[in-house]
C-alpha cells in the first residue's frame, strides 16, 4: 500500500484518540527519537550532551495545556539540537557550507 495512504490511516487513528493519549503518544515519539539520536551520537563519538529542561517534568497525565506545550517545545528544541550535532558530524564542509 502506498506509504502516504498508510500514513493517512495512521493519523486518522491518532485523531480518534483522547487528548491525553494524543499527548502521551506525541511525547513518547519525541522521546524515542531523542533516545535514538542520542545513541547515534555516542556511536559517532559526539560528546556534546542532550539539551534538557525541567519543563519536561511537568508533563504527565492530566497536565495543563500550558505544561504540555512547554514540554513539547523543549523536546522539539532538544531534538533539533541533537539532529544539528548529528548532521554536523555527518557532514563535510565544502564551499559555502559549514
Amino acid at each position: 500500500m502506498d506509504k502516504q495512504v498508510l500514513f493517512d490511516r495512521y493519523i486518522n487513528a491518532y485523531k480518534k484518540l483522547s487528548l491525553d493519549k494524543k499527548r502521551e503518544y506525541l511525547i513518547e515519539e519525541y522521546k524515542r527519537t531523542l533516545a535514538y539520536l542520542e545513541k547515534l551520537k555516542k556511536d559517532l563519538d559526539i560528546h556534546e550532551g542532550m539539551l534538557l529542561n525541567r519543563e519536561i517534568i511537568d508533563f504527565g497525565q492530566g497536565c495543563s495545556d500550558d505544561d504540555f506545550v512547554e514540554a513539547s517545545y523543549v523536546y522539539l528544541k532538544s531534538l533539533q539540537e541533537s539532529l544539528g550535532l548529528f548532521l554536523e558530524k555527518l557532514s563535510v564542509a565544502n564551499e559555502g557550507g559549514i
Binding site: K31, R32, N53, E55, I56, I57, E81, G84, V92
Partner: protein, 624 residues
C-alpha cells in the same frame, strides 16, 4: 479543612487507582522543646493587661522554667504552645518520606493532587514556619551564669526581634541554639496530606513501544531502521559505496544492531532507583548565597555620679518637741522610786520648795496621772494648764511661738496627781520616745560626675574610671532592662547614682556570603514514573541533575514580552548546532559514517560481515 470535592467523597479520601492508607504522620518524639505561655509579671496599670510570656525549656524528660519574656502591655503575635527545633522537624519529615515505598504517594487533601516527597517536606516546613518561630542564640550579655538570648519572629513577619535573655541557672537547661517552630502548627500542616498507595495492577512498561513496531522484532531488542547502511568494502571504493544498501524489510527483516543490542529494562529500573535514591539523598541542594544582611549594635550614652550620703539629725528642740508630744494631760505614767517632787514648779527659782521623793510610804512608786503642765521661762512660771486632753508638746509649742522663744529656752514641768502630789521634771517621766536627736533624713552630696558613651555596648555593666581606679557599674536590672534615671547602685560600699542611660541602636548593612542554604529543588517520583526512557538515556551522561536543577536560572529569565523571547532565542541560536546546519545559504554534504558492528536478521543470524571501521561518503555528494 478545605477539601477537594472530587477527592473526598462521602467523607472518604478517594483517588482512582489508589487506596487510602492513612494520615501522614511523622515521629513527634522531639527531645528539645521551648514552651511559652502568657503569664503577666509585676504590677498592672488599671485598665491595662500585661502579656509577658513564661518560658519553659524541655530536654528529654527534664523541664525547667527560665526567665520570662517581658513584653509588658504589648501582645506578641506568637501562639502559646510548644516549639520544636526546626532542623529536627526537617529531619523527621525526611525520614518519613525516605520510608515510603515506591507505590506510596503523598496526596494533598485540598487539591487532590499527588505531592512529591521533597515538595511535601518543603511545603510543610513553609506552612509551619509561617506561624512564627523562637530563636535561641548564644547570649551577648555578660551575666556570669549560663544564659541564652531569645528572639521571636512573630507570625507572618520576616524578621525576628530579640526579646531578652534566658537565665538558665546553675544547673543549666540549655537547648541547642537555633530556630524552634510550632509543634501544633506542624500537626495542622500535616493534616493537609494523606498517604495513598497504588492499587496493584499490571505495571505498564517503562519503555513505550513503538507505535508501529516492525513485525517479528523481539521486544527486548532496541533497534532502528538505519537511514543508510554501509556498503561492503572500503570507503575508498566509491563504486561500491553508491548507492547505500538499504536492507529489505520484507522477508529477512534485516536490521542494523547498534553496539548495545538490547536495552535491559531491569537495568533501567535499577538505574532509575539509583537515581531516585541519589536524588532523595541529594534532595537538599547546598549552595552558598550572597545576602544583604543587617547587623545591629548599641551605643550607650551615660552619666553617673558618685555621691556621698550623710545622716541628717533633728535638733535638740525638735527632739524635745517630739518627746513632749508623747504626753497628753490625763494620761498615767509610771514613776520610779527616788524621783523628786516639789511643791511648786518654780522651786529652783524661788518658788515654794517643799520636796520629797517617790517610793516613800505616802507616795509609793507606781502609776500617776499627769494632771497639769507648767512652763517656766527665765525662772518665772509663764503659764500652766490642768485641762485634760491637752497635748503637752502642742501646748509648749504654742506658748513658745506666742512668746517668741525657742523650746530649748523653756523649762517644762508636769504635775502628777494624787491625794498628795507635786511637780516633777518632765525628763523624770518614763517615756518611750528617745530623747536624743534622731536621724530624720540624709544629706547627699555629689562627689564626682562621669559622662561618656560606650560604643557597641554589650552586657549589663559599664566601667568608669575614678581617682581610685576603674569601677564597674551595673546598668541593667535582673530582667535585662536599663535602670531608670535616679537609680542608685552600690559598688564596694560606694554609692553611684544613674543620671541617664541613652542606648542608641546602630544598624549596619553589609553583604556577606551566608554559607550553606538548603533548598529542595526537584521531584523524584515523577521523573521515575513519567520519563523512564529519557531518564535512562540521559542519566548515564550525567545530564539529569543539570537539567533538573536549572529551574532557578529559568525563573530568572521570566519575561512577558515576545520581543524578549526573540532576544533569548537569538542568543541561543548563536550556539545552536541545528541553527548552524539549517541557516539560510548554508550547504552541507552528508558524510555518513555510522559505525556498525554487524548486520544480522532479527533471529540473530549474521547475514553480512561488518565493514572495516571507517568513514563512508556517498559518491554523489548528496546534500541537504
Amino acid at each position: 479543612m478545605d477539601y477537594n470535592d472530587d477527592f473526598v467523597e462521602n467523607g472518604e479520601v478517594q483517588r482512582e487507582g489508589y487506596k487510602y492508607v492513612g494520615p501522614v504522620t511523622v515521629d513527634s518524639s522531639f527531645e528539645k522543646k521551648v514552651s511559652i505561655s502568657e503569664a503577666p509579671i509585676g504590677k498592672t496599670a488599671p485598665g491595662k493587661e500585661r502579656h509577658d510570656l513564661r518560658v519553659d525549656l524541655t530536654d528529654g524528660s527534664t523541664t525547667r522554667r527560665t526567665s520570662s519574656v517581658l513584653t509588658g502591655y504589648t501582645k506578641i503575635a506568637l501562639a502559646d504552645g510548644t516549639y520544636i527545633l526546626d532542623s529536627e522537624v526537617a529531619s523527621a519529615l525526611s525520614d518519613y518520606v525516605s520510608g515510603l515505598t515506591e507505590e506510596q504517594e503523598i496526596v494533598c487533601v485540598r487539591t487532590g493532587k499527588m505531592v512529591s516527597p521533597p515538595t511535601f517536606v518543603e511545603q510543610v516546613l513553609e506552612v509551619t514556619r509561617k506561624a512564627g518561630e523562637i530563636i535561641l542564640t548564644p547570649t551577648t550579655a555578660k551575666v556570669g551564669i549560663e544564659a541564652q538570648d531569645i528572639s521571636i519572629r512573630e507570625e507572618e513577619k520576616k524578621e525576628a526581634e530579640k526579646r531578652g535573655v534566658l537565665f538558665l541557672g546553675k544547673k543549666g537547661a540549655r537547648l541547642p541554639d537555633g530556630s524552634y517552630i510550632s509543634l501544633e502548627e506542624l500537626q495542622v500542616a500535616l493534616r493537609n496530606y494523606v498517604l495513598m498507595e497504588k492499587e496493584k495492577e499490571e505495571i505498564p512498561p517503562i519503555i513505550v513501544p513503538p507505535v508501529t513496531p516492525p513485525k517479528g522484532k523481539p521486544e527486548d531488542e532496541q533497534t532502528f531502521d538505519p537511514p543508510v547502511t554501509p556498503p561492503k568494502g572500503s570507503s575508498d571504493d566509491e563504486e561500491k559505496l553508491d548507492p547505500p544498501v538499504v536492507p529489505e524489510k520484507k522477508g529477512e527483516d534485516l536490521v542494523v544492531v547498534a553496539r548495545k543490542k538490547t536495552v535491559d529494562v531491569k537495568a533501567i529500573i535499577a538505574l532509575l532507583f539509583l537515581a531516585a535514591t541519589m536524588l532523595l539523598g541529594l534532595g537538599r541542594v547546598t549552595e552558598a548565597q550572597l545576602e544583604r544582611i543587617q547587623s545591629e549594635s548599641t551605643n550607650l550614652g551615660y552619666s553617673v555620679a558618685h555621691q556621698l550620703t550623710e545622716d541628717e539629725f533633728e535638733t535638740l528642740g525638735e527632739a524635745q518637741q517630739r518627746v513632749l508630744s508623747e504626753v497628753d494631760l490625763g494620761e498615767s505614767f509610771p514613776v520610779d522610786e527616788g524621783v523628786q517632787f516639789h511643791e511648786s514648779s518654780d522651786y529652783d527659782s524661788g518658788g515654794r520648795n517643799n520636796t520629797g521623793t517617790f517610793g516613800q510610804e505616802s507616795r509609793p512608786a507606781g502609776e500617776y496621772n499627769v494632771e497639769g503642765v507648767s512652763i517656766i521661762i527665765d525662772g518665772q512660771i509663764y503659764t500652766y494648764t490642768f485641762e485634760d486632753g491637752v497635748n503637752v508638746g502642742d501646748y509648749v509649742s504654742q506658748i513658745c511661738e506666742e512668746k517668741g522663744v525657742s523650746i530649748e529656752d523653756v523649762t517644762v514641768r508636769v504635775h502628777l496627781g494624787g491625794p498628795t502630789s507635786g511637780w516633777v521634771d518632765f525628763d523624770d517621766l518614763e517615756l518611750t520616745e528617745d530623747k536624743t536627736p534622731q536621724v530624720v533624713g540624709h544629706h547627699i552630696t555629689v562627689d564626682s560626675s562621669y559622662k561618656g558613651t560606650v560604643e557597641d555596648f554589650q552586657g549589663d555593666t559599664i566601667t568608669i574610671t575614678t581617682s581610685n581606679g576603674d569601677v564597674v557599674i551595673p546598668v541593667k536590672d535582673e530582667d535585662g532592662h536599663f535602670l531608670a534615671p535616679g537609680s542608685v547602685v552600690t559598688v564596694d560600699g560606694e554609692e553611684y547614682r544613674i543620671g541617664s542611660l541613652s542606648p542608641e541602636t546602630i544598624v549596619t548593612e553589609s553583604e556577606v556570603v551566608t554559607g550553606e542554604k538548603t533548598k529542595i529543588t526537584y521531584d523524584v517520583h515523577r521523573i521515575a514514573d513519567e520519563h523512564a526512557l529519557l531518564a535512562a538515556a540521559i542519566a548515564a551522561t550525567g545530564l539529569l541533575g543539570t537539567a533538573l536543577l536549572s529551574k532557578k536560572e529559568e525563573e530568572d529569565l521570566e519575561f512577558e514580552s515576545e520581543e524578549e523571547f526573540e532576544k533569548y532565542r537569538e542568543e541561543f541560536e548563536k550556539q545552536s548546532a541545528f541553527h548552524r546546519v539549517t541557516s539560510e545559504g548554508k550547504t552541507i554534504v552528508v558524510k555518513p559514517f555510522v559505525k556498525v558492528e554487524s548486520l544480522e536478521r532479527v533471529d540473530g543470524e549474521v547475514v553480512d560481515s561488518v565493514p572495516e571501521q571507517g568513514d563512508y561518503t556517498p559518491s554523489d555528494g548528496r546534500s541537504m
